[in-house]
């Protein structure tokens, strides 16, 4: 009896997913074509460029296909401080952005629930900076932190900054700029998870002898972890490749150059395409590795 029942039901069960997968493939086709054209092709081209060698007796910027693996060794040797700075600054900016964004998102998403108008207003304020170009905003910070600005004069009068010191062109100003520019990317994903947080879980925690601090660490934080992970990724990945904040024309100087600046310089000014490409490939690889480790550590694999 039972076997017969299995026998008859097996056939249609097997058919259904096949038909479904064909439709799914059809629906995926435009997306796959797009990815092949605009992601896979440039990626392959980039990897191939990274192995190119200069044309003998050719002009500056003339390269031919080759398999010059030394390009990678050369760029690591020449630019390892840039890599260190890039990941150091990006991690610092991510941590600061998280420390600022979490309380902000908690306030908007949980505490301000009773006042929807305030909630909406604060969300608008978080997004408002996007209405102005991020280059302009970064330049505005450059002006605010310049040696002539009131802030710097005031800090110098308090001897917080030495007489011959500067704010711009330091690691501080670069990390500050990165933090500032990525706060909305951190705040919004955390806000969306906290906004859905069921406060009855907090009451249950309190009912089960957990102090407010304990409830926060054991209930609120784990439940908002998906938002924290996506926020930190949205901050860390673009920040580690950023070349605006650290560039000398914005908040950085020659001593604060990140790997993004090195890539930009090699591509745009030095016309050293293979080295620029090799730097990009290494940057991408390291980011992928760090993100994979991070996601595994936080146990949020299903997000990817």
């Amino acid at each position: 009896m039972a076997f017969a029942a299995f026998g008859t039901s097996a056939a249609p069960v097997e058919q259904a997913p096949r038909r479904k997968s064909r439709i799914a493939l059809l629906l995926l086709a435009p997306g796959l074509a797009y990815l092949a054209l605009f992601f896979l092709t440039p990626l392959v081209s980039l990897v191939m460029t990274s192995f190119q060698a200069p044309v003998e007796f050719g002009d500056v910027g003339q390269y031919q296909p080759a398999f010059k693996v030394e390009n990678y060794a050369i760029v690591v040797e020449a630019y390892w401080p840039h890599f260190l700075r890039a990941f150091g600054y990006a991690i610092a900016a991510t941590v600061f952005a998280l420390l600022i964004s979490y309380p902000l998102a908690y306030f908007i998403g949980v505490k301000a629930r009773r006042w929807p108008l305030l909630q909406a207003l604060m969300l608008v304020l978080v997004i408002a900076p996007f209405f102005i170009s991020f280059l302009l905003r970064t330049l505005a910070w450059k002006a605010l932190m310049s040696d002539e600005s009131g802030i710097v004069v005031f800090l110098k009068s308090l001897s917080i900054i030495p007489e011959d010191g500067h704010l711009t062109g330091t690691a501080f100003s670069v990390i500050f700029g990165l933090t500032y520019n990525f706060i909305p990317f951190m705040t919004l994903p955390i806000y969306t998870t906290l906004e859905r947080l069921d406060t009855r879980y907090l009451e249950a925690g309190s009912d089960l002898y957990a102090s407010p601090a304990s409830t926060f660490w054991r209930v609120t934080v784990p439940l908002s972890l998906p938002g924290v992970v996506s926020g930190t990724l949205l901050t860390f990945i673009p920040a580690s490749g950023d070349y605006i904040n650290a560039s000398a024309s914005f908040l950085g100087s020659a001593q604060t150059q990140m790997v993004g600046n090195a890539i930009e310089a090699n591509f745009i000014s030095l016309l050293n395409y293979p080295e620029a490409a090799a730097l990009s490939v290494i940057l991408m690889g390291v980011i992928l590795l760090l993100v994979a480790l991070y996601v595994r550590r936080t146990g949020t694999e299903d997000l990817l």
Partner: protein, 399 residues
């Protein structure tokens, strides 16, 4: 640890002069309540009567506007919820979705730093027969299983007082009946004090030792389920706890043991000890299942009240019994529940019928009839139409 002593047995709960005002309304108005240790106490009432607020006050999730809360003789009014020896089974269960069933159950024990929390959690899960699902996440369980996990999570802490906030509300009828019996047996087994909040009168009556009927932030009547059912004091209790036929009239005479009330030209007797008031305009009542339906005028006998003749206006079959509505001139609609001893209705729609009941089954209420207009026979549409017309005419005359 937190909150001091945790009794192995339950502790009594005492509410003294509790008021709770929210902006715009008063949820609880001068509530005094004492629940003895080890009892299964049910707070019964319609939604918005203040029963859930009472529960939240005891749990410490709300602060009373005034009044004191004592658990086991100790004043806990100003004690934070996480330090009270109280646990709640929430209506929504509120199981932590990021933890396994076992971690959920062990949560309270771990926060209090109790040793071998895991072993105790397993033991509690065995009590609710869910130990085999300890490693699952709450979302992977059915509603009934989640309810049992919520119960285990609360019971495992051996609180002096266990609060149940309509925990069976989300379950279907059959599962609810099963859970009611299980809850009752667990309560007997662990010997804790249970405070159960519900709007389901059947649930309250089957489970609790003592039922308090709450209305508009106050307790209308409190007592054993049978006592409350057989002898309601107010019209609210008479109608919220089961159904009642209520009649109003003036007390015309009284004999040694009973009063005689004249309603719609008929004299009805009610035992004195079952009547709250013995003079003036009174409301008396009788439960529908206590009524006997007659198709011919029943013989006058001592100790029996007879109403009729009337017309059967509705017959509805409900399995165990059949419900008849009989319109009696001058009295209004009378409901009769008759056991289905034969196939089909005994009396047909439109037939002439009399109802009779033993005097001992009647009860007299405390309410002043004029303050309770719902006793007017306004249940049929014709009466409502007449009343509306009167109101409209009065309005036109005024203007």
């Amino acid at each position: 640890m937190a909150g001091g002593a945790f009794a192995e047995a339950g502790a009594d709960l005492e509410l003294v002069g509790i008021h709770k005002r929210f902006p715009g309304f008063t949820a609880i108005d001068d509530l005094d309540l004492r629940i003895p240790a080890g009892s299964f106490f049910a707070l019964l009432g319609p939604s918005g009567c203040g029963k859930t607020t009472t529960l939240r006050l005891v749990a410490g999730l709300e602060q009373p506007t005034s009044g004191r809360i004592l658990i086991g003789g100790k004043d806990v009014t100003d004690v934070k919820s996480f330090k009270r020896p109280v646990n709640t089974v929430f209506q929504s269960y509120a199981l932590f979705p990021h933890m396994t069933v076992l971690e959920n159950v062990a949560f309270g024990l771990r926060r209090r730093g109790i040793s071998d929390a895991t072993a105790k959690a397993h033991e509690a899960l065995r009590l609710v027969e869910l130990d085999h699902l300890a490693t699952r996440k709450p979302q992977q369980l059915s509603g009934g299983q989640q309810q049992r996990v919520a119960l285990a999570r609360a019971v495992v802490n051996r609180p002096a007082l266990l609060l149940l906030d309509e925990p069976l509300g989300a379950l279907d009828l059959k599962l609810r009946r099963q859970m009611q019996l299980e809850l009752k047996s667990i309560q007997t087994e662990v010997g804790l004090t249970f405070l159960h909040v519900t709007h389901d009168q059947e649930e309250a009556m089957t489970m609790a030792d003592t039922v308090a009927v709450m209305n508009k932030g106050q307790i209308e009547q409190m007592g054993a389920p049978e006592e409350l059912y057989e002898l309601p004091r107010t019209a609210f209790v008479a109608n919220f706890l089961g159904q009642s036929n209520l009649f109003t009239g003036r007390v015309t005479s009284s004999t040694g043991s009973s009063i005689v009330v004249e309603t719609g030209g008929t004299k009805l007797e009610v035992p004195k000890e079952r009547a709250q008031r013995h003079t003036g305009e009174v409301t008396i009542g009788v439960r529908p299942e206590k009524l006997m339906l007659h198709t011919s005028p029943p013989k006058k006998a001592a100790g029996v009240n007879v109403l009729g003749p009337g017309r059967v206006t509705d017959v509805s079959f409900s399995g165990v019994s059949t419900q008849y509505q009989i319109a009696i001139p001058g009295v209004g609609l009378v409901t009769v529940f008759a056991q289905n001893m034969v196939f089909g209705p005994v009396v047909n729609l439109g037939a002439e019928a009399w109802v009779a009941w033993t005097v001992d089954h009647g009860f007299g209420l405390v309410d002043e009839p004029e303050h309770a207009p719902r006793f007017a026979a306004d249940t049929d549409t014709a009466t409502i139409a007449v009343q509306t017309r009167h109101e409209l005419l009065a309005e036109i005359e005024e203007s």
